[in-house]
Structures are given as structure tokens and as C-alpha cells.
């Protein structure tokens, strides 16, 4: 007997997501046979940006998401650099990386402990009140001393992520939403005192990541090894790369893993479909550089505000696993647990980068080459947010934004079906997931949370062509 289970709202993510799964007995065990994932909130950033002073874009696009605003600040300022034909001085590049790095680490710690952990640990008796109760209680949850260890980590992690925001503010003015990212670089000056203050916190954070976080990940992983074979999804991975290094390379390189083969990334081969998204049919299949967003509320067969981006018409997943995979740092497999492991390991790689960038700062030297708004220009930034590949495309005409386009990672991961009925990565990952108890579909939460969805980002910004 098939059951349709709707989880609305799906909590412990950023933003508004509903999922609907069809569950049926296959070889004696209940499992997901079909899934639909839907973004349920729309703001229309793209239309809001058109007609504005280009310099406002860095500030406005950060408010696409309060968890990963620095990803947008970085991408927007890089796109503006390109359009303004500006190159930041070394300190500007380094300060952008340091604030972005702090934002990544904060996001990943928040994700593991505060968004994900409760799917795996029985917190009854340890966190016995709201918001940690009520909750699903399933027989497979971690309990006993391991549960105490993980809940202890949850509480410690609240302070660690707060410190990471403090680090971001030392250079970035405040967190969330920094005001110091500008075309041409970064307004704040790296004084010796600020470098020292950042370093002191960084050491505390690094110790947490290497000690508590690593240990807690292992504890969780050992209890749930079966999740190495759950939630694979499409099996294709995409990364644009991030964290600009001296000489033009990146800490995380760009790359693709498509149908088992490695390849380069050409942004011209991206198309966004809206076959099952609430936008007019005539706007389907466009590259972001010429994309159009026309909401179509009453459209039949549409079930999401998220579009369906595809690379050469193939579904791709983005995120820490994709970044580590294309770089060669981690290629064990693609699954719920692989995503959690990659996200934690990425914290080490970013931390190593941050230690290096901090040492490379030249105290007291400016981080900005002042710029002026050009009458015309275009800029593209291919970057990464904690959740995966992020692109900003912009055009300037008469010194104003004539077009602004943002393609976010969760648009890739939480996309609905496209015009050719290809399901998105999260939908594919849900199919095949075993469900032990139809009234407590906690396995579905584990699959969805492994992608670290950010819905404010995914229902996003495309320009009016």
C-alpha cells in the first residue's frame, strides 16, 4: 500500500522547503519510490536590483541569505571588480578570503551541530524542552554516553560559531552581513592589533575543529555507517572553485565529475529550466547571462519556486563533497555520510588557507584600489558558498545595473524536475531511502539535511533580460 508523506515545513534548514515522498514496500521494506522537493517562498531580488547603482549590489545581494552572506559579498565584489576593471591590492584579496573563510567555518559548524545532529541523537533528558522537544524518537538514535558527548558538542559549538562571527567582524565590520566588501577590494585596514585578535580566536576555533568536531563526526559516522550507501542522488558533481590565491589560482579549483568522467567548467553550458517551476514557459532553458524571471503563480504542473539548473542538460550536485572530489581530496563515495564527512574535512582545508592568508597580510597597508562607476560594463563571478557553486552575472548600462543574475548552490541541489522530467539531486537522493516508520520519516530528514539546504538562496535572482 503506497503512502504519500508530506513534510511541511521541513525544519532545520535555512528558509522554506516542503518535501513530498511516496513510500512503498519494496522487497519487504518500506522505501521512497518517488520524491518532490519544493521551495515555497519568493522575493524577486533580480527585479529589485535592476536600475540601481552597481555599488549597492554587494550590500543587497548579501541579504539573499543571512547564513552565507559573505559568499554573495565575495561573488558580487568579484563581479564588480570585473565590470569596473579593478584589481584589489593583496590585502584586499586576503581580507576577503579571511572573512569568507570565517563564514564557511561558521556555516559548517552550525550545519553539523544545530541543523543536523538532532536527526541522529536522542536528546531526550539532555535537551528536554522546546525547541529540542517534541521530536521523532526512533530505535536507531545514538543514546547513552555518546549522546551526552554529542549534545555537549552542540552547546560548545554555539560558542564556537559565535567566535567565528566575531572573527568575521574584526575585519568585516559586523556579522552577519559585512559592509566592507567593495569593488576594488576591502575598506577595513588590517592593523597588527586586529590580526592578533583574529589569530587568538582562530586558534580556539581550530582546536575545536580538530578536536571536538572531528571526534563528534567520527562518533556519528561509526553509528550510522549504513548511510554510506543511502542518498547517493545523481552522482554528478560540479564546482566553480573559490578562495582566490596569488597569481590567479584558487584554494578549491573548478571542475566537474559527469557520468564518471572529469571535466572543465564552461559557464556557457549552464541552462535553467522552469518546466515545473512557477515561471513562464517561454523563459525555460536560458543561460544565466541572458536569463529572465517572470513569476507565473497559477502555472499547472509547477510545484516549486526554485528553477532547475542543468550543466549540458545533466543534473549536477554541488557542495563541499563536489569541491573536495574535483580537487582530489576525497573520493570515497557519494552518499549522506560522505557529504557530512566532506563538509567537516573541508573545514581543515579552509583553516589551513586562513592561517596562511593571515600571515601574508601586511599590517597597515590598504585593502582597496578606489574605483568609479563605469557607464557600461559586464562582470561574471564564479565562486562558492558553503553549500556549493555560486555565480553572479551582471551588466551595467548608463552607470546603473541593467541586469543581475544569481545562480545559487541550493538551486542546483533542491531543483525540481526540469522540462525533460529529470529530477533534481535531492529528489534523486531521496528515492531508494528506506523508511522504517511511516509516522516518523527521520531517514528523509537525514537525506535532505546532508545537502545543507539554503532556500532563501535557491529561490533567487535572475535578471530581466
Amino acid at each position: 500500500m503506497m503512502a504519500t508523506i508530506k513534510i511541511s515545513p521541513l525544519t532545520r534548514i535555512e528558509g522554506h522547503l516542503d518535501i513530498e515522498i511516496n513510500v512503498e514496500k519494496v522487497l519487504g521494506q518500506d522505501q521512497v519510490v518517488d520524491a518532490r522537493v519544493a521551495g515555497t517562498m519568493y522575493r524577486g531580488f533580480e527585479n529589485i536590483l535592476v536600475g540601481r547603482d552597481p555599488r549597492d549590489a554587494v550590500h543587497l545581494t548579501q541579504r539573499i541569505c543571512g547564513v552565507c552572506p559573505i559568499s554573495h559579498a565575495t561573488a558580487s565584489s568579484i563581479a564588480l571588480d570585473s565590470a569596473f576593471q579593478a584589481t584589489p591590492p593583496e590585502n584586499g584579496r586576503l581580507l576577503r578570503n579571511l572573512v569568507l573563510g570565517s563564514n564557511f567555518l561558521q556555516s559548517h559548524i552550525l550545519h553539523f551541530y544545530h541543523l543536523t545532529l538532532q536527526d541522529y541523537v536522542d536528546t531526550t533528558g539532555l535537551l528536554g524542552k522546546a525547541p529540542w522537544q517534541p521530536r521523532y524518537i526512533t530505535p536507531d538514535l545514538i543514546s547513552g554516553s555518546a549522546a551526552r558527548q554529542l549534545v555537549d558538542g552542540y552547546v560548545k559549538a554555539l560558542d564556537t560559531r559565535r567566535k567565528l562571527q566575531e572573527m568575521g567582524a574584526i575585519f568585516g565590520a559586523r556579522m552577519p552581513c559585512s559592509s566592507t566588501f567593495v569593488p576594488g577590494g576591502f575598506t577595513e585596514v588590517a592593523t597588527s592589533t586586529k590580526i592578533k585578535d583574529f589569530a587568538v580566536l582562530f586558534v580556539e576555533v581550530y582546536n575545536f575543529i580538530s578536536g571536538v568536531f572531528f571526534n563528534d563526526l567520527l562518533t556519528l559516522g561509526m553509528h550510522f555507517l549504513k548511510y554510506l550507501s543511502i542518498g547517493r542522488g545523481c552522482g554528478n558533481l560540479l564546482a566553480y572553485g573559490a578562495f582566490e590565491e596569488k597569481g590567479g589560482g584558487k584554494l578549491f579549483p573548478a571542475g566537474r565529475f559527469t557520468s564518471g568522467k572529469y571535466g572543465k567548467v564552461d559557464p556557457g553550458r549552464i541552462a535553467e529550466y522552469v518546466g515545473h517551476s512557477r515561471y513562464t514557459p517561454r523563459t525555460s532553458g536560458l543561460n544565466p547571462s541572458v536569463g529572465v524571471t517572470e513569476p507565473d503563480l497559477g502555472k499547472t504542473d509547477a510545484y516549486s519556486w526554485i528553477k532547475a539548473p542543468r550543466y549540458e542538460d545533466v543534473v549536477h550536485e554541488v557542495g563541499p563533497l563536489a569541491r573536495l572530489w574535483v580537487a582530489g581530496h576525497y573520493r570515497r563515495g557519494i552518499s549522506v555520510l560522505d557529504r557530512l564527512v566532506a563538509r567537516m574535512l573541508e573545514c581543515w582545508i579552509i583553516s589551513d588557507g586562513m592561517a596562511r592568508w593571515l600571515m601574508e597580510l601586511q599590517p597597515g597597508k590598504t585593502g582597496i584600489h578606489p574605483t568609479t562607476v563605469p557607464p557600461t560594463g559586464t562582470g561574471v563571478a564564479l565562486a562558492e558558498a558553503p553549500r556549493g557553486a555560486l555565480g553572479h552575472w551582471m551588466e551595467i548600462r548608463n552607470s546603473r545595473l541593467s541586469r543581475y543574475q544569481v545562480l545559487t548552490p541550493t538551486a542546483w541541489n533542491a531543483s525540481p524536475m526540469d522540462d525533460a522530467m529529470r529530477k533534481g539531486p535531492m529528489e534523486q537522493a531521496l528515492v531508494g531511502t528506506p523508511i522504517a516508520d511511516r509516522s516518523q520519516p527521520i531517514e528523509a530528514l537525514r537525506v535532505v539535511h546532508s545537502f545543507d539546504p539554503c532556500l532563501a538562496c535557491s529561490v533567487h535572482v535572475l535578471d530581466k533580460g
Binding site: 525544519t11 529589485i48 543587497l60 547564513v67 566592507t180 585596514v189
Partner: protein, 298 residues
């Protein structure tokens, strides 16, 4: 005639209840031993927002740590980002509380009012606009957290295709809504307002935009340490940023004093926009962003 302590408590509780005092306030005053210990239930709804205000609240440490707030000070019975429950279990938690009443309603994010509110759903086919109105009715206090919930914010920026509005606009003039703006808002402003409500069972004194005077009495410019400094001529220079588009003269906030991202209890923040050499963008104001744009022009 001797009156027992028990009778005294019953009598004062009855008086308190007849005055419309919520159960948690009575418990705070030691008057109703059957309630849940004096921590007000909080329902936190999210609409057209970015969760930045929730992320900012998680940074709380100066007035109170976030651990202390969540574990000891409030009962956060609904919050989509933090709560364990999902789907119908989560909605039931919210609905059970709504029916009981006596809660602080917090709204983060703007309310889209165009097309019958269909640009944002709270859960299971119910529009956010509908849910805000429903939950506003039984709340003992309503807080609009962030500029989006206070005044529409960035989603309400031109051309405002979704009719994004603040909570007060949606609930009407009969509702008392405390606006705690900021894009994002500051954790101290939220915690301070909640602390006032817990201590006095009333919202703090508000200005004409519904903002607590505790935090929004002075303009940024009034207490800016750079107001007497020479004017910066280009971005990246220190000094007064008036010529670079600073909106400090038309923005109310205590940013120059409180600053952002405190390092510990009773510590000011480590930095703020003008100190980091970027002009104030006026993010706490009712006309943010359109009335404060372009950010780099006067």
C-alpha cells in the same frame, strides 16, 4: 483572621489572571506554581527573510549568551531553523501554543500581501500572511524582528512585486507591534526587549516607528566618534564618511556605542560599519533600502 500563604497565592493569582496576566508572568512573580517556571513561550515565524536576524541572535553574548536564552530564559516552542520537530509535528507544537495563548510572537521576514499572500507559505498550503494574522490574535506580545518584518525591508524595495509589508501593516492599528529593525538586527536589541517584557510584562517605550527608545533614541551621527574628523575623500580612507554617502545623520541606532559582535559578557562589539571605513547604510530605518540608496551617494 489569619490567611495562609496558599490562600494568598490563590487570591493574587486570581487577581493576576483577571487582569489578563499571562501564566509565565505570574510564575515570574511567584504567584502561580503550576506554570512552567517563568520562561515565556515564544513562537518565532519566518517569512520573506534571509534568517540573518536569527543568525544574529545566535551571536548573543553581551547581554546574555544564546545558551542561557534558550535553556533558561524562554521556551522557544516554534522556530523553523532550530526546532527538532518537522512537518505536522512542528505545526502541532505551534498550533497547540496558539490555542493556549500567552506567548510572545516573533516575526522575522516581510509578509508578502500581493496575490492573496501566495508568494510565501508558512506551512502546508497556509500563506504566511494568514498565519501571521492568526498568531497575532492570541499573542501577549508581538515583536517584528529585523527591517523586513518591521517595514518590508529589501523585499519591499522597488518594484515590490510581492507586496512585501511589515507586520504592523498587516495586523492593523489595533495591534501593538514592537519593531526591532536592523538588517540584520542586533542580538542585544532582541534580548533587551525580551528581558523588558519578562521583567515588567510590557514592551519598552517605543518611538513613532514602534522601535524601543532603549536602543533607537539617538541618531548614529549623534554619537559617532568620527563626527569631528576630517572628511574622507575616497573609500578606504578613515575619518568622517559624510561625503561618501554615510546615512548616519538620518538613521537611529546605537551602533557607534554598542558596536557589533561582542567578545563576551558586558563587552562592546569588536567593530561597526563606520569604524571599518564603510558609510552607514541606514539599515534600521523604515525607508531602507530605497530611501537610503544609492548607499555611496549623499
Amino acid at each position: 483572621m489569619k490567611i495562609t500563604r496558599r490562600d494568598f497565592i490563590k487570591a493574587t493569582s486570581a487577581l493576576g489572571i483577571s487582569l489578563g496576566m499571562p501564566g509565565w508572568a505570574l510564575a515570574r512573580a511567584g504567584l502561580d506554581p503550576s506554570s512552567d517556571g517563568g520562561a515565556p513561550p515564544v513562537i518565532w515565524l519566518q517569512g520573506q527573510g534571509c534568517s540573518g536576524c536569527s543568525v544574529s541572535l545566535l551571536n548573543s553574548i553581551n547581554t546574555m549568551s544564546i545558551q542561557d536564552l534558550l535553556l533558561n530564559t524562554i521556551n522557544l516552542e516554534y522556530h523553523p531553523t532550530l526546532m527538532a520537530a518537522a512537518g505536522s509535528q512542528a505545526v502541532k507544537a505551534a498550533e497547540d501554543r496558539r490555542i493556549k495563548g500567552d506567548y510572545v510572537l516573533v516575526v522575522e521576514g516581510a509578509v508578502p500581501t500581493a496575490a492573496g499572500g501566495q508568494f510565501c507559505h508558512a506551512w502546508d498550503g497556509r500563506t504566511f500572511m494568514d498565519v501571521v494574522k492568526s498568531y497575532g490574535k492570541n499573542a501577549s506580545h508581538i515583536l517584528a524582528v529585523g527591517t523586513c518584518a518591521s517595514h518590508g525591508g529589501i523585499p519591499g524595495g522597488k518594484p515590490d512585486a510581492t507586496g512585501a509589508r511589515g507586520v504592523k501593516d498587516v495586523l492593523g492599528t489595533t495591534a501593538t507591534v514592537v519593531n526591532i529593525p536592523g538588517c540584520p538586527t542586533h542580538p542585544d536589541w532582541i534580548v533587551g526587549t525580551v528581558a523588558h517584557i519578562i521583567s515588567y510584562n510590557q514592551a519598552p517605550a517605543l518611538d513613532t516607528y514602534g522601535r524601543p527608545l532603549l536602543f533607537f533614541q539617538n541618531k548614529v551621527h549623534a554619537r559617532c566618534p568620527e563626527r569631528s574628523s576630517p572628511r574622507a575623500r575616497s573609500l578606504g580612507e578613515g575619518g568622517c564618511l559624510a561625503d561618501l554617502g554615510c546615512k548616519g545623520r538620518e538613521t537611529y541606532s546605537d551602533c557607534p556605542v554598542r558596536k557589533w559582535n561582542s567578545s563576551g559578557p558586558n563587552q562592546p562589539g569588536v567593530n561597526w560599519c563606520v569604524e571599518a571605513r564603510n558609510p552607514c547604510g541606514g539599515c534600521t530605518e523604515h525607508d531602507y533600502p530605497d530611501g537610503k540608496s544609492p548607499f555611496y551617494e549623499k
